[in-house]
Symmetry: C2
Subunit: 322 residues, 2 copies
């Protein structure tokens, strides 16, 4: 990498050029810049954005222990057989309690470590609002811009953050295991909203058929428009069903192609825009702390004269007036 800035460190532009020429270390540093946010991240974004928009993006989500990493590993194998370049982001937005799982799983992905057509990277939350939800699409555009044609994003769980991340891809695979339905009662609808393809993984275990029928019954009851998510049984560890999952993903991609895909991507950009606006305003709210109007209204809350909602209205009036 040449083209160092005044600080002696390579500039985003120099790193971007190197990454385009296949320098994986430069690419890793650009992803780190995106994770950290700030001006360098903006510079990476400005370089990536106009060059992106070609890659197909696939999200893979599900509960911890469902075998997402193994399935992702298998899918990378299938798509590498086609000669396409594959980028994988492993995203863990979850709690300290599950923080280790995805790191442990990374080891498995090492089967592609020597393949120069595969780039694998973990991304972790930085704690601030929408951090990952903003960094993931930016990282996807970067990988897209430097030449990766197939992008896979693996996330743990399907809470709000995961839904946001899953919303950043063209197609979403939801992975469940036999028996999953026993512990899930009220919120199955959340899965219906994001899944384009269902995988019942570890299908050699008892209850796989029941899990499949359960999903099919849910789909029967859902108000599906056009595409009905197929439910595929797999044993990713042995490679069973992995090719079928990939075929289903490709079928969904073909179905999406054209106006539907453009519409989906446009909608995704809108949500990203909303999120950025929210973040910007959040920063402004943060800046407001310590200023006289803020301190005064907090004092009134502490003495129970003004409740937080009224306090918010007052500060927003001040902001609108300024």
């Amino acid at each position: 990498v040449t083209g160092k800035g005044l600080s002696g460190r390579p500039s985003p532009g120099a790193l971007f050029g190197a990454a385009t020429r296949g320098d994986r270390r430069a690419l890793g540093r650009l992803v780190s810049m995106i994770e950290r946010g700030g001006e360098a991240a903006r510079a990476v974004g400005r370089l990536s954005f106009p060059r992106s928009g070609q890659a197909f993006t696939l999200g893979i989500t599900g509960a911890p222990g469902a075998g997402k990493s193994t399935l992702t590993d298998g899918l990378v194998g299938v798509l590498r057989a086609t000669g396409l370049m594959a980028g994988v982001l492993a995203v863990d937005p979850s709690s300290p309690f599950s923080g280790g799982a995805i790191l442990g799983d990374r080891v498995r992905m090492q089967s592609h470590a020597l393949d120069s057509g595969v780039f694998i990277r973990s991304m972790a939350t930085r704690g601030h609002i929408g951090g990952l939800a903003l960094a993931v699409p930016e990282a996807l555009r970067l990988l897209d811009a430097v030449g990766f044609e197939q992008l896979l994003v693996e996330t743990v769980g399907v809470g709000q953050v995961e839904l946001d991340v899953a919303g950043a891809t063209d197609t979403t695979v939801v992975v469940v295991t036999p028996g999953w339905g026993d512990s899930v009662q009220a919120n199955k609808a959340g899965l219906m909203e994001i899944a384009d393809v269902f995988v019942v993984n570890k299908a050699d275990r008892p209850g796989a058929g029941a899990a499949r029928r359960d999903l099919e019954a849910m789909l029967d009851l859902s108000n599906l428009e056009g595409w009905r998510p197929p439910v595929i049984e797999a044993v990713a560890e042995d490679g069973q069903g992995v090719a079928e999952v990939w075929d289903a993903v490709m079928a969904h991609r073909d179905r999406l192609a054209g106006p539907a895909l453009q519409e989906r991507r446009r909608h995704r950009l809108e949500r990203e825009l909303d999120r950025i606006i929210l973040r910007r305003i959040d920063e402004r709210v943060g800046d407001r702390r310590g200023q006289p109007a803020y301190v005064a209204v907090v004092e009134e809350m502490a003495s129970r004269r003004v409740d937080p909602y009224e306090a918010a209205d007052r500060l927003l009036e001040v902001a609108a007036g300024g």
Copy 2:
């Protein structure tokens, strides 16, 4: 309940009066109003806020299956022996995958179902930004205002939402189990930030001592100011250690009493204020959709001429100008 509104349904004011006189059904309806948000929720908040600020609030959090409900149940038993009124909120901000767990655990809490000094209520996410993080403190103030002196909030996991919820209490208990450390690698620091008391539950299982030493070692390495969280072994199911946990909670409360507690509560109100401001602005951003400036900038993004960050800046300029 008397004092019905024009709609024939009881007004928040009438329900609040009834709840203050011990009507649990009225109290439950008020919590539902808070969950739904909107004008009725605001009315409940206006009634509660000036009458709140007396109750001691305790958060109990940890991974699914750590035995939080059983411990909570035991703590309620201990504090009921003192004659104090106890309110319990069971909060599940988590994904569809774990959605059922807390509902199942509710059954156990039935041991207090006939005790008129205990009110138990589950709260679920409504999906919108900060929904639970806003509803939980509002519900705590309601319970406080109608006479509950000890409030317990049980949450699953310690992701961002759980951290927000945990931040809504005076004292936080983090529950782990033997072997928990094996699956947690990078993010233990997140636990250190929120825990005032650690409980190693199911301590009759192998590895309890190791889990305890692990926590103590983490505490040795942490930059603690003043209070060092005690680590207590418990077998909540048999009642073992529950009284010790309660003693530790009381010790922390006593330590907090006075200026430190006031400071903590003031800081909490500030964070709530920030969250409300953010929500309000989020609603305004939502309103902006479909307007000409928004549609135009989305079009420019879709054609890759303007990236999302630049688009956000443009719209915020428009907003600041209007």
